[in-house]
Structures are given as C-alpha cells and as structure tokens.
C-alpha cells in the first residue's frame, strides 16, 4: 500500500507519465499510412514538352535527381513564356501512371484479353518482330503498315526512312487540322508546307471556327496571342464565327452564330461583297493571283475565274444568310468591317485539332485572305518555314525497289481523288473491305486509333483483318489492349524526342526534348527498336538506318541546321513574333556539337518567318484556280477548280434524324493519344460529367420540343451508333444541334481514367473529302430521346 503510494508519488516526480502522455499525443498524429515524401535537394531540369504539338519549353523539378515532382514552364522559351497547360502540369501522372506497360508483352489468348498478356524479354520481342518483318519482306514488303502520331518530329522521318528502305508505302499519320492546310498550300502555292498565321501582329481577327482557346493544335501560342490582343490600349477586336457559344466565342468581342459547317459560305459572302464593292487589294490580286479573272488552261479551254464565281447570285448576302442562319445585314456589316480594317486576318479551323478540313473550304479562306492582301510578303499569312534538318535518303534493294511499284493501299482504288494526302481513312477502308493486297503486320506508334480516331470502328474493322498488330504504346490504352505485341516506348519525359515547327506559327522553330529522368521501367525507345530491327534485317535496311541511339540520330539531324548556318538559339527571352519575314537571324552557335548541346539544355532554335512564294506554281502566282484538281475530276464544271462552298452532306435523312451532333474539344479534357489525367478529371465541370455519365449539351428550345429536362437520362442515336447520356440544357448550344465533348469514354486504363462517359468518336460520321481523300468531320445526323 505504502509502496504503491510511494511509487505513484515517485513516478509523478519523474518525466515518465508526462512523457508517455505527450508521446501518445504525438503518436496519435503520426498517420503512418500517409506517404512521407522523400526530402533532398531540389533541382530543375529543362526540356521541351512533346505531349502535344505545341512545342512548349518546360522544366522539371527533381528531388535528389531521381524523383520528378513538378513540371512547370520554362521562362526562357518564347512560345509559352514560362506557362504550362493543364496537360503538361499533370504530365507526371503519365510518368508515374499505374497503367503504364512495364515491359514487352505478348498476347497469348484472344485479342483484348488482359489476362492473356505474357511478359517477354526485349531480346525475344525484338527477335520476334524482326523475324516477322523478315518473313513478310520476302513475300512482299508492302504488306506491312504503320500508323503514327500526327505530331511533327524526327520520329516521322525515321519511320519514313524505315518504310522506304524496307519497301512499304503504307505509312500513315493520325489526322490533324494541318493536313488540310497542307493540301491548300500545295494547291495554291505549290509548296509542301502549311499556312502560318501572324496572330500576334494582327489588328483584327476574324475566326471561322478556329478553336483558338478550346484546345487547338498549339494552345500556348494561342493563349499568348490572346494576352496580346487583350492589351489595355487599342485591344484587338476578335470575331468568332461558329455554331456553339464556345470559350473562344465568349472571349471574342463578337460572336456570330451560324449553322454548323457553314463558315465557308459566310467567307464567300464576305468575298462577294468585297469583290462587288471593289473593296479588296486589287493590286495584289492583279499581280499575284491566278484564276481570279476567267482563265484559259494549257489546252486553250476557257474557264470561269473566282471573281465571276464569287460575285454570282449564289453568294449574295441574302443567299449566304439563308445558308448560315445569320441576318443579311450582319453579313454586310461584317464584310464592311473586315474589308476596312488595315490589319484584318481571317483564321479558320475545324474546331478540333485532330480533324482535317474540307479542302474547298480551306481554299475559300485562303481566297478571302488573298483579297485582303494578307499573302503578300510581310503580310499576316506566310508559309511555315522548315528547319533545315539533315535529310534522310533510304537505300533500296531489289525487294524495296520491286514493292515500290505497289500503290499505297488507300490509293489502290480504281478511282482516286485528285490531290491525295495522308489517307488514313482510305487505308482503313481498304483493309477492312477486301483490299488489293492484304496487310500482314500493322504497327501503331504514339497513337490510339481504337479510341480517339473519329469513327473508330473503322480501325477495329481493319485491325480484325490484320493477323499481327504491334503497339509501341507506353500505356495500356485501347489500341495496346487489342494488340498482339506491346513493345512499350519510354514515356515522353524519359526519352529523346524533338519538335519540328509549331502548327500555324510563322517563325521557324526546332527544339530537342531531352529526358528529364532515367527510364523507370523496362521500356525502350521505339526509335532504337527500329534501329535494332533494321540492323537485324541487314542489307540496305541496316545501312539506311546506321544510328545506334536515338540521341545520335537527333545529332545527325541537327547537323543539317549547323551546316546551313541557319537561324539561332534563343538563350534570352525575346519577342519572337516581332521578327519579320526576311529579317536577319544571325546564328549564335559555333558548330553542330555546340548547337546540339544548347538544344539538349532545353533552349530552342528559331528562324525568321518565310513569306509565301509562288514560284513553284505553273502560273508563278497564287493559284485560286487549282488546275491540278482537274486531273481525276469526274465533273467538267468549272467550279471544281475554284474555292467554293461545298458542304459534305451528312448521311441519313433530315426527317428521320432531325438533329445534328457536333463534337467539340475542351482544353480541360485531353482527347488525343494521351488520356485525361486524374488532376484534369478535377477540372471537368459537373455540367459535363456526373459519375460515369456524360452530358450532351442542347439548347433549351431543343429540350422543350423533345420534352427533356435538365439532367434527364437520354439516349442519343446517330447514323453511326448510339449511347446513353444525360441532358445538359444550355444556351451555349445552337437550337437543333447537340454537342458532345471529345476525349471521354475510355474503356482501358484504370479506375481513375476509364469508364467515364461516352466516346464521341463512336457517334461521329467521317466523310471523305473529294479533293484530298482525307476524312473530315463536321456534323452527324442524330436523334435524341428521353429514357
């Protein structure tokens, strides 16, 4: 008793009870299951982002040099000037994604069965691929095909080199907005380049459906342009023409709502008023434009010119108003304003960076700018200059020589479009429907056509006919899941890569993306896999691809720039848009090694813009009458040579399908090869997604006529497919038109990414452009009902 009392008394005088009490309090706040981020030195590693084509300079923050914790913008880069987009800010969620493919896999069961993938070594993977390619080569190398990313990089050229040396013409790129611009530049100027827009120096911007702020092909540059337009003094007036009250429309000073896909009609209407009112750059047109007046072809046959076409009664304000849904007065007002503004620029787009445009419409916008004189030297439109990278030339042996007689599969039809381009759709169509020759091996690199190609069922149908499908994806995406082999590439931040030009930018741009971190998994650079396979195949294939590493290959490419002593590296912040065509840019690197060192350190190379040249056309002028269209033409109508409004009618009848479905892109949803990240999922507004249900946007009027209330469960049916969704009633939607966001509805990946909403691509109809053969997407006929 006393002992206990003494013990208690004594204990109370010692730190024991107090320390125990304190410790248990501290212990209760220990949350041992909560991760404790490793500490250490934080360093910054510069690089260049290759997640999209925008070409932004980035820098990664690393802890102890081996753990990346943040991607931020590189202030030294003139394109993004230190900023990043939501996708790049969450880029590390791809690097550390649970759905990455950790090593080469081979499908041992039925395609698409996740449990059937068996891990194999790189040795085995490369041997089996080489063996297949070797076997097929003996039987006819043209039966191998590949689909790669639409992003412009040296990887394209390496693929092309491999295919040339191996002997197959069947190399395709995923569709892009630039495809149509390339066709238009080819037809009107004879240059195989794309048109470039001097957004930053325009004084008035008339945008025909260009989704500048809704996730366009070069988002950082568009954001930079917006910042310059919204300056305090003399802000630049922006006019947005499209059917949806989009973000770009809301940021614009004026929003002109029109029927979907009728932008070109409005442009023709403006051109009509400019021509009839003689309110255009007559000097430029007279001296530099062919086909404006009536023209005579080489056979002496007379043809109608653009002037007589556009000034005809088909494009009066009243006619145009009927097509577009605008008031005739609005058309007149707009034409007057556009014609009178000294630095007015017309830009255009499809509203989606990964969809090509109708070639005739592309030509209409070129014509409108030509009337404005924007294509003259120093004007607001130029041609995207090319970095003088070392050219590749493949050596051919008898096999590749023989197979080069074989036509590319999309062109192997009896009837062909006059100016064929990147004909991925034609190819897929051919493969699935009894082709001229079979495709025995299809490779897919940095692309996910099974999900994000509009009308993605075409890929599925084609893939079924191909005995071996190889994916090089870093991720277990929908296409990888359907593949027989997956040979995972490094993730973008782990590998060497490059950016050749920024889509639509007038200045020359080249940047090397160096890895910020050592590869985390058992992956291999696809470029290096190609090099290994080529050396196994031996002969001219091996000698055409002599490099041992992708870094060596890039060094070789950069040598071309150094040899030409072209352009300069940007080592201090500059206003890149202030450089005009023809301005001298003095090189500031000593040799190729020095240039590569600087590029590897995250600095970018630039060159002055190049003006549009017309010396490659037969007339030596800008050709508004595109004579080459006549080649395979089925019509003898003169209009086929000229820019005109030529909508591709969606299939189905209006009475059966009373509504139109239009897809749109959002800067908060990644809709290309890369899926959304968990960070970006937080950005998706609750008017777009609720749980796993996607919302379809419709106008209150449309909703009232269909008896649909906000949040109702609906079924959407288009001529292509059907899906369940929820209704979001919003005045952003045009009456009679439904809008669906792109990039949702993934079936692969993990619980954070997959099974959210509907994939818009499965509902969209693709129509082949008669001039270029490329797939265009505007609107699809649809029905909507409450369920």
């Amino acid at each position: 008793m006393q002992f206990a009392a003494g013990a208690v008394g004594g204990t109370l005088l010692t730190p024991l009870p107090w320390k125990l009490a304190d410790d248990s309090a501290v212990w209760s706040q220990n949350w041992s299951w909560r991760p404790s981020p490793e500490r250490g030195e934080i360093t910054k590693v510069p690089s260049v982002c290759t997640l999209c084509a925008g070409g932004c300079g980035i820098q990664a923050r690393l802890v102890n040099g081996n753990r990346a914790i943040l991607i931020e913008g590189n202030p030294a880069n003139p394109v993004n000037e230190g900023s990043v987009c939501a996708l790049a800010a969450s880029a590390l969620q791809f690097l550390y994604a649970p759905y990455r493919v950790t090593q080469p896999l081979k499908q041992t069961k039925k395609r698409g069965d996740k449990t059937g993938f068996q891990a194999i070594s790189w040795e085995q993977a490369q041997t089996e691929l080489s063996k297949k390619l070797e076997e097929i080569r003996g039987e006819g190398p043209h039966t191998v095909a590949c689909i790669t990313s639409s992003r412009r990089s040296s990887m394209d050229d390496l693929w092309a080199q491999f295919f040339n040396a191996y002997g197959s013409p069947n190399l395709f790129k995923m569709p892009s907005e630039c495809d149509a611009s390339k066709s238009a530049a080819q037809l009107t100027t004879g240059n195989s380049s794309t048109f470039a827009f001097d957004l930053e120096n325009a004084g008035y911007v008339l945008s025909f459906g260009a989704n500048l702020l809704d996730g366009c092909a070069a988002p950082s540059r568009a954001s930079g342009a917006l910042r310059r337009w919204k300056k305090d003094r003399y802000p630049v007036k922006i006019v947005q023409v499209e059917s949806r009250a989009s973000i770009t429309a809301s940021k614009a000073d004026v929003f002109l709502p029109i029927n979907p896909g009728t932008e070109a009609a409005l442009a023709m209407g403006i051109a009509h008023l400019m021509v009839n009112g003689a309110n255009y750059d007559a000097y430029f047109v007279k001296n530099n434009v062919f086909g404006f007046e009536d023209w005579t072809d080489s056979n002496g046959k007379k043809h109608q010119g653009f002037k007589s076409l556009v000034s005809s009664s088909a494009y009066t304000p009243e006619q145009v108003a009927k097509i577009t849904g605008l008031e005739p007065a609005k058309v007149r007002e707009l034409a007057k304003e556009f014609a009178s503004q000294p630095k007015a620029l017309a830009v255009w787009g499809t509203g989606r960076a990964d969809v090509s445009n109708n070639t005739y419409h592309e030509l209409v916008f070129v014509a409108l700018n030509a009337l404005k004189g924007n294509l003259k030297p120093g004007g607001l439109i130029g041609l995207a200059p090319k970095a003088p990278l070392s050219e590749l030339s493949a050596q051919k042996d008898i096999l590749s020589e023989n197979s080069s007689q074989q036509p590319r599969l999309d062109l192997a039809k009896s009837q062909n479009c006059p100016c064929p381009q990147n004909g991925l759709y034609g190819f897929l169509d051919a493969v699935s429907s009894g082709p001229k020759y079979p495709i025995k091996l299809l490779m897919v690199h940095e692309a996910n056509p099974a999900h994000c190609l509009p009308e993605n069922k075409l890929f599925a149908a084609a893939a079924e006919k191909v005995p071996t499908l190889v994916s090089f994806s870093s991720f277990m995406d929908e296409t990888a899941l359907q593949s027989d082999y997956i040979l995972p590439d490094h993730m973008a931040l782990e590998r060497f890569d490059d950016v050749i030009g920024i889509p639509g930018a007038p200045y020359g741009y080249y940047a090397v993306s160096a890895p910020i971190i050592k590869p985390l998994l058992d992956t291999k650079h696809t470029g290096e896999v190609l090099m290994k396979v080529a050396s196994t195949l031996g002969g001219t294939v091996a000698s055409s691809i002599p490099w041992k590493s992708y870094e060596d290959f890039l060094k070789f490419r950069v040598e071309g720039i150094a040899k030409a002593k072209a352009g300069a590296v940007i080592d201090k912040p500059i206003e890149i848009s202030s450089i005009k065509a023809g301005d001298p840019v003095t090189s500031n690197y000593s040799d190729a090694a020095d240039l590569f060192k600087k590029l590897k350190a995250g600095l970018c190379w630039h060159d002055a813009p190049s003006a549009v040249t017309f010396d490659k056309t037969t007339s030596g002028k800008l050709e508004l009458a595109c004579q080459s269209i006549g080649k395979n033409a089925q019509s003898s109508d003169d209009v086929i040579y000229l820019p005109h409004f030529a909508p591709l009618k969606p299939s189905g009848s209006e009475s059966e399908w009373p509504l139109l479905l239009v897809s749109y892109s959002s800067p908060r949803v990644s809709c290309g090869y890369l899926a959304n990240t968990p960070f970006m999922n937080k950005l998706i507004p609750d008017s777009m997604l609720a749980g796993d249900e996607l919302f379809i946007d419709l106008n209150p009027q449309t909703a009232a006529s269909l008896g649909i209330a906000q949040g109702d469960q609906v079924k959407i049916k288009t001529t292509q497919g059907e899906a369940g969704a929820k209704a979001n009633i919003t005045p952003a939607a045009r009456p009679g038109v439904l809008y669906i966001p792109r990039g949702m509805g993934h079936k692969a990946y993990d619980e954070y990414i997959g099974n959210k909403g509907v994939n818009a691509c499965q509902l969209m109809e693709v129509q082949l452009d008669p001039v270029s053969g490329m797939g265009t997407v505007w609107a699809t006929r649809a029905q909507l009902r409450r369920v």
Binding site: G10, T14, D23, V26, I42
Partner: protein
C-alpha cells in the same frame, strides 16, 4: 502496546516501503524508462568530426544556392577526398567499399529530423547569428557518432527539437510565432 509496537514498526516499515517505492519509481522513471522508451540504433558507419577538424564546417554542411540547407552531405561530397581509402579504420573501409565505390548514398540517420509538416530553414537562424550549438550538440571534438535514440512510441529522435522550444526562443527574440512560419 502491541498495537503501538506494531504501529510504530509498521510506520517505519511503511515509511521504508514508501521510500523504497518512491526511490524505485525515480530509478525507473529517470534511469530505466528512457532506456526502455528510446531504442539505440547505430549509424551505418562511424564518422569522426574530430578527424575533420581541419575543414570548415560549411565545406560539408552547406547552403544550396536556392537558400535551402543541404544538412548531411551527399556521397559526392565525401568522394572529393575519399575516392580511395584515407586510412585503415573499419569506417573508412565501409565508406569506400560500400558507398563511394558503389556510388550509393550513406543512409545516415538524422538526429534532429522534424516531421513532414514542419518547415525549418537554417538560413534565417544563421543570418540572425544563432550558433549551431544552440540547437545541435557540439561535435568539434567528437570522435564517435552517438547512437541514434529513437522514441519507440513516436518514432522521433530523442534530440528532435519540440515546438515549445522553437516558440520560446521565437517569442524571446520577438520573432513571429505564426503557424505558417514553421509549418507547411
């Protein structure tokens, strides 16, 4: 009488018992308890600060250009002198063979490690003239690293400074005690 006796001797016994219990508790509380509470862990190899007396403290314990403090140096720092063995002690052998040669970091245990929610920067303290020994042990003559004593309940090092200590000094010196000054 008996009762008295008993009670008298009982009292003595009682007092004795009380003293015994009291003393026992003190021994337990002051001597046994700390040894029970704190584990003793040895560092991966011994480091003699005394042997490095010729160097300045900040040739190893330095500030990085971004203002953060590097604390215990990295193996690259050791490598500057210890690319090959500088003597024939066991510690030297372990350092060179296990870490320098293999380019691995030594997993030193930090005596003053603070939890994740604490932000501590040496820069303002040094800038305001606080000496290292105000908070850390004097290592100038230390031949042998002391064992790391870790609280078995909380997992903290015995020498981790507690918040009250920080606060006392801050208020004595008129420095802000606002939460975000020291928490992240």
């Amino acid at each position: 009488m008996n009762e008295e006796k008993t009670s008298a001797s009982g009292k003595v016994v009682g007092v004795l018992l009380f003293v015994l219990g009291f003393a026992g508790a003190l021994v337990l509380g002051y001597l046994v308890f700390p040894n029970l509470l704190y584990s003793q862990k040895l560092q991966p190899l011994n480091f003699s600060h005394a042997a490095h007396r010729d160097n300045d403290c900040d040739s190893c314990h330095k500030f990085r250009p971004d203002g953060t403090y590097a604390g215990i140096p990295k193996i690259s720092n050791c490598k500057e002198c210890h690319e090959s063995a500088q003597g024939n002690t066991e510690a030297e052998r372990i350092l060179v063979e296990e870490y320098v040669a293999k380019d691995r970091e030594v997993p030193w245990m930090v005596y003053a490690r603070q939890p994740d929610n604490v932000f501590f920067s040496h820069a303002p303290h040094k800038g305001k003239g606080v000496e290292c020994v105000t908070c850390h042990r004097d290592v100038t003559k230390e031949e042998k690293l002391p064992p790391m004593r870790e609280d078995r309940i909380t997992g903290y090092s015995m020498t981790t400074m507690e918040m009250t200590e920080c606060e006392k000094c801050h208020s004595a010196k008129g420095v802000s005690n606002n939460c975000e000054v020291c928490h992240k």
